[in-house]
Structure formats: structure tokens, C-alpha cells
Symmetry: C2
Subunit: 500 residues, 2 copies
């Protein structure tokens, strides 16, 4: 709605939306004694999530709920309300919004479905009635959404009780509720935490461009992911994407680019998805990173989170197995990266550490079997990292802990002397040489599906992530993410060069 | 070597290679008292894996090892030897092969590296010397390989102690040792077991075409996967691929199709990888399924394993969330599949089971939240399965067990009445309607990386697989695999039609 914030570089909207992410007081409107119903379960989720401000349930029957007095209307609350969560039926939503305005509420999240997305005359009429209430005195997210998750503000989506409490640097803006939930729940397993996650649904007031503008200005947000179906204001979105992507990496997954997907998008939010050619041109010109699904989105944001401002196409790859080396050479090439041959001195140093036959001291370095001694692995990585011939190192198909080796029944395959510090090697190399190291921990390698094996893998993944090392389950995914990071920063540098 | 088997439709080679997969007696040549060394650890792996025949260790120093008398040479063994595992240095390998011939050994697996793959004059000379020994009296796998895994024969690769004991219907033929190991270890997690896995290395005698011919004739093998770098005999391979793919699904991953991958392949096995255009034409004409990596290979073989001979492009998709629906519509379109709209009667039946707003009764069916009641889910699936309007059903983003719901902290979001049988619903539908049902169980959805959540997911995945239901971690992967199955059988039908 408000375009003034564009000129003030987003600081206007940043102040204006504060009550949505850091409300001092919240009214949950539409509760009943039935805790399975959305309003009441939202109230409980906010309590359990630890919302630090004042909470006011509102429901027609009054009484008490979860230790709080239920007001019969928003007007009855004898406190200032910054944010209202609306779970009332679509037919009464416009009236409740009017009431919130009269109360001086500054932010509204309208969860209710049943508006233009239904494609019915009635739904469109209700949405038109709702929009009439917009006068600039408040800002609204929704309707037909799951709302806002802002861990630093103690706010969560519906149902968001199980979301992480920890706040991070990654924002995610999505039309869809389900995808925003999957994002919030899984991001810690990819090694990062969210600053804010928003499911904005029908975008009657705040749309993807407004929310992006907020994230552009948000000092807590260093990286931005988006899932877009059909934007409300394509031109404004393109402009703000371009401006934001010059400052912070923006990773965009555009849904509905196939005819079948576009048809589904139209029945989901009533939006027009647009053609693949137009979208690819718009996103490329805006300088954002384009991805094709949730997994690639999460992988890519993880790479941006862990890697420095990185423009080097050259990667060193250390693994066990010739086929693995060939597959990685294909995958890195497809990701726009190179695995350069090492020069003779580096090659010879590495060769001196490897068995005389069966291994390979070139790049890819093949250590022959997935359980090298820590001394050998460290020596190889030091030679590579110190060579200046690669800008990052990927380690794959090496069993990275003594415990994992034991659980995978590899323990008898190699001597156990001085193995304990094997898992430290990547951390030491990254620290000592200032070179990004990426670890691939392959999944599903225990034939019995032993939970202990997966548990040790999960522990090791967390351990590396806590020591600032990105972890992927396959080399293909590691290279794809790394390629996006290098591509983005090279493009930023190129544009900066053109401007200078 | 032997081309006669082509005319006899592979039965010649099937008899000829029996000692490699079902040997009555095995000599492990090149053992020492050091159990970390490959020969000795192979002996132990065969013992622990449960090789049922006679085992004879051979090593220059004699003595005893793991309860067995060590012979100083193959000639010293006073028993017939069907298969010899050779772990001797490359320089003496030709001489040991000669000794095996004199002993009347019928099969040899040569693990040793140091031949043509090194790219050295010495390596090439040694390989030429080795090849001179081939006179048709024995068949050999290798050198420079990890050998054979044949669970029904009690034979395993090096190091193969942890491989599954159970035998299945899927064969995997790979130049690479590491990839064959990953395949054997992970296949049970994809829901199937291997009949035979072979890493054939330099293919001095038996190459990919010979081994494929064996699998063509093998009654225990119903499905075949291959990883190929550079074949020894491309014309023969193309011919046997075409002949085999007309009888059994063959899924091929060709490594080294990018310039960088081809360069790595050349240093791995000294083979020429060939151009992408030529390969794609050859594989397409042969009627095999082409995949781009290990994950896609395993996913696709799992789909062939679980799904019947299936040529229906139409899929029903049931999930929770509009964005999820759009994403699946894109993914299924890209996989060559359609998600047709249901006709009015089916749509209305489904709609009557769903909440009046927020859900979607079209296809994709969106049940709104990931925890529908079993009654609702069953009703929807019955309507779809009984409609004749789809040929398979994919269920995604539905929390499929009470325990998983509890662990994911969803338990408070919905009533718990009659939930226990929720996880039974897909099994019942597949059985009652004879329609393939695929379940997507998403990973990494617990923010705390709780091993209990992953454990319950793994248990549930096994449970479905044991009840003949394919399980994937993402809808994208489910559709990609399903698309390969439909594409393969349509092509088989089309060719049968052309011939008729």
C-alpha cells in the first residue's frame, strides 16, 4: 500500500511493521474452550513458545482459558493492543478488523480462509469488504495464511509451538503456510536459524514486496529466502528484489512455472503465476539466486550462511573412490565450478601421503578407502589449503568419526591409533588457513537402518555446523549450493565494477 | 571374450560365471598375520559374512590365520578351488594367475591396483602380461576393483562385512568400487535388496557387457542398475543393453559426461568416457532409463521394485498445504506426469470430507493441516482410488503415525480419537483397490534434530516398505522415480506394438 518507504530505503516500513514482529501485547481473537480449535491452540502455542508480552484471549462466551480471562470483544480489553491474531470466520472478519481499528491495533494477522482464493463470488465480495477497512492506521498479514514466526520477538506461527526458540540471520517470505512451517522447522538441521518467517497468504495489504523491503532494512536479517506464486505487484517486487540483492543474498523459489503448477497456483491463492521466460528474465536481471525447490533453497541458504563472500570457482575435492571422483567432477562442472589439477609440488606432497597404488593425488584426491588416518587427511588438506590453487575444499565419503566407523563396522578395516582427532581435521584446516571447508556426510549407509548410525551422523553434522562448517548429505548438493554462492558474489562484483 | 553366449541368449555365460557368485570353495591369496591388510581382512569378512563353502588362505609365510591353515601357494591346496580372491602386488599378479590356471581355478577376482589405470608404461605392460594368461579356462573380474557381493552365495566385497545378508531382485554393475559399496549398504533403506553387486574395475576380462548378459539370464535378478564410465566394448554393450531392457528394466548412470568428469574418468580407469550426445542417443535407443546420480539411481530402482508394470501418467496427490500442492504440480509435470482434475462426483465426495474453507478437494487434494483423521484420509483415498481417474496415489506432508505426531509436538493440534490406525490407511487402500500408493515421509522436520523423530521416521519407512509401499523423502524424488517407471513401460509397450 504505502510507497513512501521506497524513497526512505525501507526505514519507514521497518518502523511501521515492528508490532508484527516484536509486539508488546497480543490479542488472540476467536478462542473457545475447545483447545483443538485454531484460536485456542494458537493461544497455547504463544504461551508455550514464551511470548514475553501481555496476552489477551477474545471469544464471544467470555470465561477463562489457560489461566487467562477471556474478553468478549477487543474493545473490552483495558490495555493497548499492538497485534491482533484473528481466527474468526471470514464473514465476520471485516467487522472484527473494524473493531481492531477502533481499538488502535497497529498490526493484524488474519489466519482465516474463505476469501478471493476460493474463486467464489462470495469470497471476492468479502475480500473487497475487508480491503475497504485499510486506511493506513494498521498493517495486516493475510488472510488465508499461517502468520509470523519471529523468535526474537517471542511470536510464532500457527501451529508453531515446536518451532526453534533461537533466532538467526535468515528470513523466509512465503505465500504458503505449509512451506513456511517446513522451513522454520528444518532450518536448524541445515545449520542456520531464522530471523523471521512469514506466510502472507492472500496479501490483501502487506505483500511480498513490502515484506522484502522490511527484510532489506532489518539489521537482524543477513540472508533472504522467498517462495513466490503470483505476486500482487510484480513491478514493485522486481525493483525491490534488485535493490535488496545488491546488499544481501536473496534466494528465490518461484512456484507455478509449469502449466500444471500455474493452474494449481491459481486455485491456491487466485494469483497468476506468469510465464517461465518472463520470470527467469526478471529474476536474473534482479541479481537474485534462483532455485527449484525447498531442498535447494535450504541448501543454498546454508551455503551463504557458512561461506564467506566467496568468488573463487576452484574447488579441491578429497574423497575415497574413483567413481566418486568422476561423479563429483561431473557435479561440480554442472554447478559452474572447476576442480583444477594441482601443480607438481602440491601433487607430490599429497602423493607422498597416499598408498603407492590405487589412490590418486591429483584433484579429486582419492584416498582409496573411506577411513584414512587423521595424519594423512590433515597432510592432504594442508597441502591443498596452503597451495593457493583452490578457494574451497569439499571432503566426501570419508567416515569422519571413530564412533561412526565403529557403528558402520569399519573398525576392523584399519588401525585405530590416533583416530580420536579425525573429526577435528576439517575444523582445524578451515581455522588455520582461512579457507572454507565443506563436509559431505552421506546418509542411509547402514543396511539395517540402525538409528544409532543416523544419530551419530546427526550429532556429527551438528558438531560441524556449530564449528562453522557447512554439511551436505551428497556432493551433488554441496556443489550446487557452492555454485550458487560463487555465482551470486561474482555477479555482485561485476555489477559493482560496471557502476564504478 | 566369449561371444558365443550372445547366440545362446546368455545361458552360456550364466553357467560360466556361476563360480564367481556361488563358489563351492574360495582361496584368499595374499594374506599375512596383519589383520588390517586387505587379504586378511577379506578372509575375516568372508568368515563373518557367513561364506558357506571351504575357505583357504594363501600367504608366503604359511602358519595359521583366523583358525585356518595358511598355504604357501594355491598349488599346495589339496581341494578343488572354484574362486580365487587375489590380493597380491601387481608385479606378481600375472604369475599368481598362472598358478591359479594350473590349479584349475574357474573364477578369479583381482583386487590389486597398479595396472593400465595408473597411466604408466609399467602399469600398461603389467596389464598386457596379465591379459596374455586369458585362455578361456577361467573368467576374471578386475583388477583394480572391490569384487563381487552375492548374498545368496555367501560372497561379499572388500570390505563387505557389514553388507546385508538378505538377497533381493536388484543387480548393480559398476566399474567403481566405492559406488558399489554405497549401493549395497544403502539399498535396504530404499526398500529393496541386491541379488548381485559387482565392481569390475579395469575389466581386463569380464566387462560391463558380459556382466549385463549374466544378469539378463539370471532368474534371481528382476531389475538392473549400472554405473558406467568408459565401456571396453561399446557396440556389444549397446546391443546387450537393448536386448536386456526389452525384458527387465535397466537403469543406467553414465559418469564422465561433462568434460571435467571425462578427464577424471580417464585417470580413474584409463577409459574414454565418450560424448554426452552419443551416449544419450545410445541409451535412448537401447530403451534403458537414464539417471544422473546415485540417489536418482536408487530412487528409480525402488520405484521399479515397488510398482507394478505401470503405464498410467495420471497421479492423485494428497497433501497438506497450498504451496506444497503447487510445488508438486510443477514437479509432476517436470517428471512427465499429470495431476488431472477429478470429475464432479469424486470432487464432491472428497469435498464433503474436508473443512468448508482452506482445504482443496481438487487434485492436488489439500487436507489443510498435516494431521487429518484416519477416517477423512481413508475416505479421500477411497474416492480417488475407486474413481478410475488416476493410476497411482502419492501422499505427502501428512504425519503418518501417532508416535511421530507426538514426537513432532503436533499432538495438541488435533483430537486424538481413533488415530492409531492412521498409518494403516495407505496399506489398506493399495491392497483393496490394487492401485499403487507412494508415501512421502519428509526428513529433518524436527528443529532439535531429535534422534527419536528420525528413528520413528525410519521405523515407519521400513514398515511401509515391508508392506510393499514405496517411500521417498520428497515429492520431487517420488515423482521423478514414478516418471521413469511410467516412461520405461510405455516405451516397452510402444516397441512391442511396432514389432507386432
Amino acid at each position: 500500500m504505502s510507497e513512501k518507504s521506497v524513497d526512505s530505503e525501507g526505514t519507514g516500513i521497518y518502523e511501521e511493521l515492528r508490532p508484527l514482529f516484536f509486539p508488546r501485547s497480543v490479542a488472540v481473537v476467536g478462542v473457545s474452550q475447545d483447545l483443538w480449535k485454531p484460536g485456542s491452540s494458537m493461544l497455547r502455542a504463544l504461551q508455550r513458545f514464551g511470548f514475553p508480552g501481555a496476552l489477551y484471549p477474545v471469544g464471544g462466551r467470555g470465561g477463562e482459558l489457560l489461566g487467562l480471562q477471556v474478553r468478549r470483544s477487543v474493545g473490552e480489553i483495558d490495555d493497548e493492543i499492538e497485534l491482533a491474531f484473528l481466527f474468526v470466520p471470514a464473514t465476520v472478519l471485516p467487522a472484527v478488523v473494524r473493531e481492531c481499528k477502533q481499538k488502535g491495533v497497529r498490526g493484524i494477522i488474519a489466519f482465516t480462509s474463505g476469501f478471493s482464493e476460493t474463486g467464489t463470488e462470495e469470497g471476492r465480495a468479502l475480500e473487497a469488504e475487508l480491503v475497504k477497512e485499510f486506511d493506513g492506521s494498521f498493517r495486516m498479514i493475510g488472510p488465508n495464511c499461517l502468520g509470523v514466526y519471529s523468535p526474537a520477538g517471542g511470536v510464532t506461527q500457527h501451529p508453531g509451538e515446536g518451532y526453534p526458540r533461537k533466532s538467526g540471520e535468515v528470513a523466509f517470505i512465503a505465500q504458503s503456510g505449509g512451506l513456511s512451517e517446513d522451513f522454520a522447522r528444518s532450518s536448524p538441521n541445515f545449520g542456520f536459524y531464522a530471523s523471521k518467517v512469514i506466510s502472507y497468504g492472500n496479501a490483501c495489504d502487506l505483500n511480498e514486496a513490502d515484506l522484502l523491503e522490511y527484510m532489506e532494512a532489518d539489521p537482524d536479517t543477513g540472508l533472504i529466502g522467498m517462495y513466490i506464486e503470483g505476486p500482487r505487484d510484480g513491478r514493485k517486487l522486481a525493483r525491490i528484489l534488485r535493490r535488496t540483492a545488491a546488499k544481501k543474498p536473496v534466494v528465490v523459489w518461484k512456484g507455478g512455472l509449469t502449466p500444471q503448477g500455474a493452474s494449481a497456483a491459481s486455485s491456491h491463492t487466485g494469483s497468476l503465476a506468469g510465464s517461465i521466460e518472463v520470470w527467469e528474465a526478471v529474476l536474473r536481471q534482479a541479481g537474485v539466486v534462483q532455485v527449484g525447490g525447498l531442498e535447494e533453497l535450504l541448501d543454498t541458504l546454508a551455503a551463504f550462511h557458512f561461506l564467506p563472500r566467496h568468488t573463487d570457482l576452484r574447488v579441491g575435492y578429497v574423497c575415497a573412490g574413483g567413481g566418486t571422483s568422476v561423479a563429483a567432477s561431473d557435479a561440480s562442472y554442472r554447478a559452474g565450478l572447476t576442480l583444477p589439477h594441482m601443480t607438481a609440488p602440491v601433487h607430490d606432497t599429497i602423493a607422498s601421503l597416499l598408498p603407492p597404488v590405487g589412490a590418486s593425488a591429483s584433484n579429486p584426491v582419492d584416498v582409496l578407502a573411506p577411513f584414512p588416518s587423521p595424519t594423512v587427511l590433515k597432510g592432504i588438506l594442508e597441502a591443498m589449503a596452503g597451495s593457493g590453487e583452490v578457494g574451497a575444499i569439499v571432503i566426501d565419503r570419508i567416515v569422519m568419526s571413530t564412533e561412526l566407523r565403529r557403528l558402520m563396522k569399519y573398525a576392523d578395516q584399519t588401525a585405530t591409533e590416533d583416530e580420536e582427532w579425525l573429526s577435528e581435521v576439517p575444523i582445524t584446516i578451515q581455522k588455520d588457513f582461512g579457507i572454507p571447508v565443506v563436509v559431505v556426510l552421506r546418509e542411509h549407509l547402514d543396511p539395517d537402518g540402525d538409528v544409532a548410525v543416523e544419530g551419530e551422523r546427526i550429532r556429527l553434522r551438528r558438531y560441524y555446523q556449530e564449528h562453522d562448517i557447512a554439511v551436505y548429505p551428497t556432493a551433488d548438493r554441496a556443489f550446487r549450493a557452492l555454485g550458487h554462492v560463487v555465482g551470486y558474489y561474482r555477479q555482485v562484483e561485476r555489477r559493482a565494477g560496471e557502476t564504478a
